[in-house]
Symmetry: C2
């Protein structure tokens, strides 16, 4: 096995949301090691200017590449994915760079029977239009609507994932989309926080609507790229608690507490390195 | 009338929440002029370190004092109020500095029949404990509980102020407080966003529970200080649209859109100056 195959995969997010991507990766690639960096000092990225976001993402990526020698970069943040990928690819031409938008759009187009897709995301992602563009590149005839579901982020971070209140919020956001003449056959969860609410969303929209989770589809894309580039580790599976090096740029205790919820397992403050980037 | 009386009152917040304080001030003091600065580039303050918050607040205050010659500083932000007031008073010894915590605590103690007070605030404010301390300084026998109502912020910013979903969220946060043996007789809304939800909260807790709004009580404190210090303007009332100079450090369009909701009147992008501090 080459030295390169043994290196970790670098994952970057502005906060903890990207841990849903990490969780999917851990399930899919049990032999890999990961370095996860959450830029909690400077979140949220969604309200910041384009150049600022690119600069922040480059800083974070540099940390992962220089200190952790990652073999691949996963941008597990919608805002950063929608603006920073070209700059990252120029800066780090030797390693594959994967965002969350393209894999999500591709999966939605693949499973949607009639190309009627509703993108659920944050306000910033909806305003940026990256999912709609990516879907239309793949299927120019797709009928796409977008809906900013701001409260889903707060629900996920609060750990309110099911029950009457949660379904009430889901219903309020989706009611008019499903009351329209052309109803979506597919929902694309275009925010890394939203997979936590998938069960509640499914209960509201019913089982004949496909739900595509961009965390899951990004993990699949990473898996394919590792195989294609010969970068996959071939060692036996690692225990989950040894497989990830966690870093955050501020408020490590909140990062660990919310992160545990997103990751679906214990994560304590001592497991997270406070870094300055 | 002296030149000093004619100067504006400076109001500072990390975002738009402080506009509930501004709204109360406009109602209470129709002759005054205001300079409102929202540090939207660096929000949220709640997750940042103590020294960083003090530094940011001093920057913002300097801008209001140096460029707008304000006669008074109102810190309409709970996080900044709980850590930055001593530093502001040292830096600007010649002008009164008012925060939101002391007036809110004072009003809650005054109206609470049995000193059973529940503080509803953000996670950061609850963790900081400033309201509980301020209440106990005024009434050492008060029985105070605190509850972080994270979703209230998102509901207010989303403009979801009434209805079943909103009341469901309120009920979920308050259920166990009101199921306890010692029930609160007074709720203190310890976040500048929460006055927008006051009607929904009142509907859930019933009319025999007092609700104290720290925006309203801060405006009353400002009014008293103006009179005591002889700084009140004695000119006739200004039209509301001429009374405020709005500034924000980033994303002026979102500041105007959400601000309008908080202010309860039209506010367009052109009314807001983008400033760098």
């Amino acid at each position: 096995m080459s030295e390169r195959q043994n290196r970790p995969i670098g994952i970057f997010d502005s906060g903890v949301g990207g841990m849903t991507v990490l969780r999917a990766l851990l399930r899919q690639l049990p032999a890999e090691e990961f370095s996860f960096l959450g830029d909690t000092a400077r979140l949220p990225y969604g309200t910041k200017g384009r150049n600022t976001i690119i600069e922040y993402t480059l800083h974070a990526a540099r940390r992962l590449v220089e200190s952790h020698a990652v073999k691949m970069l996963v941008v597990a943040c919608n805002t950063a994915s929608s603006v920073s990928l070209p700059a990252l690819r120029v800066q780090f031409p030797d390693i594959p760079v994967v965002g969350v938008i393209e894999p999500g759009a591709r999966a939605a187009v693949r499973v949607s029977p009639k190309g009627r897709i509703a993108v659920l995301a944050t306000e910033a992602t909806v305003r940026g239009g990256a999912y709609v563009e990516a879907i239309h590149r793949l299927n120019p005839e797709a009928q796409v609507v977008s809906r900013a579901c701001t409260l889903f982020v707060a629900l996920a971070e609060e750990g309110w994932l099911e029950g009457e209140v949660v379904e009430g919020v889901v219903r309020r956001y989706l009611a008019d989309i499903f009351a329209a003449q052309v109803k979506p056959d597919t929902l694309l969860l275009g925010c890394t926080h939203f997979p936590l609410l998938q069960k509640a969303i499914a209960r509201v929209v019913g089982s004949d609507v496909h739900i595509v989770d961009s965390a899951q589809t990004t993990a699949e894309a990473v898996s394919i790229i590792l195989k294609e580039t010969g970068l996959a580790r071939t060692t036996p599976a690692l225990p989950a608690e040894e497989a990830v090096h966690f870093m955050a740029t501020d408020n490590v205790s909140r990062f660990a507490a919310t992160g545990a919820l997103f990751l679906g397992r214990k994560l304590s403050e001592e497991d997270v390195e406070l870094v300055d980037i």
